[in-house]
């Protein structure tokens, strides 16, 4: 039953993914400006060279043919794999001619390292903050957390990032204190060991987590407050259960269910969520790649990345649907 459902959903997802590619392709080519080999205005680059290279890259072909090339590689179609999406290389970059897949695989671990750390930090810090806020509603500490989360939502993350770099990196270095690296994922010279990676991770991950903490702690707080006013909490108290048990066993567990949904929504953000932070901290991740290449009009790279993220969303949704069914027997697969 479940297997059939999964297969059917997977098959039904194929048109969705192709729809995404088609829309992205159309939008990209509808914008003004175009990919120019050698973006810098170079006096030795001749008009004839630009035209020839664009021809070689197939950029002067009719749009449907260009789309087909990206999907299936060569025309006419052949039986051996000649590149393209269906062969799994997600197209080849216009800028450097290498498969988009390789770029993604190279950058993905860095991005996941950053976003997963940030989400973990977010969860570990926001839940206690929310619980304390709810239990001590209206107290000084609650007001302070409220202030923090309003600040977290309203402070632009790139600005916070710049300030953190200025303080913990540049100023700490100037004051002779232990300082944190101002950017990158590893030390450029003899870097890459776990300690080195960790020190590079602290600033960007905290910066990204700050926003999560701000949102999720508010969410936990209001959800917790709502649960604490439920009848079964009163019943538990009436039974003489200790306040600690009431809070952590009954109220917290139930109030976390909506939060899990909210965190689940961040899953596609695992790949794309930290783009701004990645840029400010020179973090070699997927988000920064996407932005850099979009600015260069590297159509195939942007298409490949969009499709990859679309695939993640589709798979994420499918997983969520399956998990709901496992958690809640009332949901049936039909």
């Amino acid at each position: 039953m479940l297997a059939r459902y999964v297969v059917r959903r997977a098959v039904a997802s194929i048109p969705v993914v192709f729809g995404v590619t088609l829309i992205t392709f159309t939008l990209l080519h509808a914008t003004s400006g175009a990919f120019v080999p050698g973006l810098e205005l170079n006096p030795n680059l001749r008009p004839a060279d630009i035209i020839r290279i664009r021809n070689n890259l197939g950029l002067n072909d009719p749009l449907p043919l260009q789309y087909w090339h990206w999907i299936a590689g060569a025309w006419p179609p052949s039986f051996h794999c000649s590149g393209g999406l269906i062969c799994g290389d997600f197209g080849r970059s216009l800028v450097d001619g290498s498969p988009v897949r390789d770029h993604i695989l190279e950058r993905l671990p860095n991005t996941l390292e950053l976003t997963i750390t940030a989400i973990l930090l977010g969860v570990l810090i926001s839940i206690p903050l929310g619980v304390v806020g709810a239990l001590r509603r209206g107290s000084v500490i609650d007001n302070f957390f409220t202030f923090l989360s309003v600040a977290g939502v309203s402070i632009p993350s790139f600005w916070l990032a710049l300030l953190l770099i200025l303080l913990f990196s540049v100023s700490f270095h100037a004051w002779g204190l232990p300082w944190l690296p101002s950017g990158g994922a590893v030390n450029s010279f003899e870097g890459g060991d776990p300690i080195d990676r960790l020190t590079h991770l602290i600033l960007p991950a905290s910066c990204l987590a700050f926003v999560y903490i701000a949102i999720w702690s508010r969410f936990t707080r209001s959800s917790m407050l709502e649960t604490l006013s439920q009848d079964y909490v009163r019943t538990a108290r009436a039974k003489g259960m200790s306040e600690r048990r009431v809070t952590y066993l009954h109220a917290l567990r139930n109030s976390l269910v909506p939060l899990v949904t909210l965190i689940g929504l961040e899953l596609p953000g695992l790949v794309s969520g930290g783009a701004i932070i990645e840029i400010v901290f020179s973090w070699p991740g997927v988000g920064r790649l996407a932005l850099e290449r979009a600015l260069q009009y590297d159509y195939t790279m942007v298409l490949g990345l969009t499709t990859f993220i679309a695939l993640l969303v589709v798979i994420g949704n499918l997983l969520a649907d399956v998990l709901y069914g496992l958690l809640d027997p009332r949901i049936r697969y039909a």
Binding site: S32, G33, L39, L41, P43, P47, W179, G183, L295
Partner: protein
């Protein structure tokens, strides 16, 4: 021109290195202060260093140390490591360290032989260039570099069967070169279709690829081979180690380098977010040197761990009046008085001081002042003179209307100006221009677009009124790319459609003249015409500004130190550079 080197002069070269570190001025200074010289010999290195640092950069007064690493901070990652394909500065920088070319330039732009034994021998009719290779040049696998390697590399960019190679150099080579032939293992002959003076500077500086590995590739494979991202056999001062995309390129010392191995173990080309990040990482020591913005000059100069080096460059910022017959502003801008008056109205010195923090030089002609073809007396000049601008426009019949905007025959002196968003100096330049022109009754509105859109506007669409952008000249004074009417064709950079048969003739004659003095006269004429016509006035020439950690030594000064023509593609100083702490 630069000196020629005879083979087998290893000992002499060491002596040259010694002289290079001791620039002439320092040397004279030292001769004068004999006591200090004695102190230096006795080990008073720091004293001498203090004296020398009164100049620029980090002159070498310490015995070079072997080992350690050097990290350059950059804002753009490389795209390819294939010298046949590079068209961006970042890639060319790394390619230049991996693959030697036949010739390269000194800091001042003089040609010098690299893989070639001497500068090319030119036949009396100026049509053939014979290049003889050195005897001691070899690939990193130990095999010699031969004329066949050179031939194959140029075939990728020139031979019709390699049209599928996405080389940006084909157009130029096809235009001027008739044939490329191997005479013997060490000799290669380039035969041109017509005399073309810029040939050696423009076309003989491409990195040479090893035929053994590349010769069997089909044309399309040259675009996509793994060697474009991880070359295995190279010839330059460093060997390729790894490229972590979006992070850094790491190179290692080439112990067998024909000029002698560099001092450094490792060179790292580290990609960071922007110039602010370069400044930060210079301060923390995460990078050793990097190009910085004019706005950072004073802040970084004040850092005790850094020295800041500046020098003139041939990079400039200019704006252009759209004179395409189809443009709605064509009629307005075809009036020379309007073009000149608008330039008189600009306070370019004020812009250089405020927007470039004094790190730019107001252009007095289209030629950079560092060029041998620069005419310092080009006429007319355009000092800031709003009164003159007003009277010129009055005289040309552009009268102020009730709204304060000038108009003539129902057409208002009103237009938009485009540049690329994100480049603060360019954005602010447009604002300064808007303000200055408002004072003389001209309504100009800035509009920001993306860089590819801007390029498309300049080279193809051409529906703008005025654009502002940066451009750069090579060491060659030929300026056909902007001023020749053939480059008004789609794709060309003369996107403002400046057409003058007199100008075309001067440009064509100049590239067909080998006598440098005669060429110079032609370029002097060119500069006078351009100063009179002002089809696309140059605002300022920029300066190259580099922040360098004081632990880096042997990088600046002399013919091969960091300078105008040795800052990017050609880092001739890399072999003599070392880090004083050896780390």
């Amino acid at each position: 021109m630069s000196r020629e080197e005879a083979p087998g002069e290893e000992g002499f070269r060491e002596f040259e290195d010694f002289l290079k570190h001791w620039s002439r001025r320092d040397f004279v200074k030292r001769m004068g202060i004999g006591a200090a010289y004695t102190a230096f010999l006795a080990g008073g290195v720091e004293f001498m260093e203090a004296c020398a640092n009164a100049g620029t950069g980090n002159p070498t007064t310490v015995t070079p140390k072997k080992g350690g690493h050097l990290t350059e901070g950059t804002i753009s990652d490389i795209k390819t490591l294939n010298p046949v394909l590079t068209s961006d500065t970042a890639s060319s920088e790394i390619v230049g360290l991996l693959y030697d070319s036949l010739l390269n330039l000194t800091a001042n732009g003089d040609l010098r032989p690299l893989l070639a034994k001497a500068l090319p021998q030119t036949s009396s009719d100026g049509l053939t260039y014979t290049v003889t290779l050195r005897d001691n040049i070899k690939w990193t696998d130990g095999s010699p570099i031969t004329a066949d390697d050179v031939k194959m590399t140029y075939d990728f960019m020139f031979d019709p069967q390699y049209k599928d190679v996405n080389s940006p150099r084909r157009g130029d080579l096809e235009q001027y070169v008739k044939s490329i032939t191997v005479k013997d293992a060490k000799t290669i002959v380039f035969t041109l279709k017509s005399v073309y003076a810029p040939f050696a500077v423009n076309q003989l500086q491409y990195g040479i690829l090893p035929k053994k590995l590349w010769g069997s590739l089909a044309p399309k494979e040259v675009n996509t081979t793994d060697m474009n991202t991880g070359p295995t056999v190279t010839s330059g001062v460093f060997k390729f180690q790894k490229w972590d995309k979006g992070q850094q390129v790491t190179l290692a010392r080439n112990d067998g380098y024909w000029q002698g191995a560099p001092y450094l173990d490792t060179f790292i080309y580290k990609v960071v977010a922007d110039s602010v990040a370069i400044g930060n990482q210079l301060k923390t020591g995460e990078i050793d040197y990097g190009q910085i913005d004019p706005s950072q000059f004073s802040d970084l100069s004040a850092q005790s761990s850094l020295s800041v080096v500046t020098f003139p460059v041939a990079i400039f910022t200019f704006y252009a009046y759209n004179q395409n017959s189809t443009a709605k502003v064509a009629q307005m801008f075809s009036d020379k008085a309007v073009r000149q008056a608008l330039l008189y109205a600009l306070d370019r010195q004020g812009m250089a001081d405020a927007l470039y923090f004094k790190q730019a030089v107001v252009a007095t002609s289209s030629m950079p002042p560092i060029s041998w073809a620069y005419n310092k007396d080009a006429k007319p000049q355009y000092p800031h003179d709003p009164a003159k601008a007003n009277s010129m426009l009055d005289a040309a019949g552009w009268a102020k209307g009730s709204d304060g905007i000038r108009a003539k025959g129902g057409q208002k002196l009103s237009f938009t100006m485009i540049t690329n968003a994100g480049n603060k100096v360019r954005e602010n330049s447009l604002v300064a221009m808007q303000d200055a022109w408002k004072q003389i009754g001209v309504d100009a509105t800035p509009k920001l677009i993306t860089f590819p859109q801007l390029v498309a506007q300049i080279t193809n669409d051409r529906s703008y009124d005025v654009f502002l952008v940066g451009f750069s000249w090579s060491a060659e004074p030929d300026q056909s790319a902007l001023w020749h009417s053939r480059n008004t064709a789609p794709g060309g950079f003369n996107g403002f459609s400046y057409k003058s048969s007199a100008m075309d003739k001067i440009l064509d004659d100049a590239v067909a003249t080998l006598d440098q003095n005669k060429r110079k006269q032609l370029y002097f004429q060119m500069q006078d015409i351009l100063n009179d016509e002002v089809p696309a006035p140059i605002l300022v020439f920029n300066k190259g500004i580099w922040g360098i950690n004081k632990r880096v030594q042997g990088m600046t000064g002399g013919d091969f130190g960091l300078g105008t023509y040795t800052q990017f593609q050609n880092k001739a100083w890399m072999r003599t550079t070392f880090v004083s702490d050896g780390k």
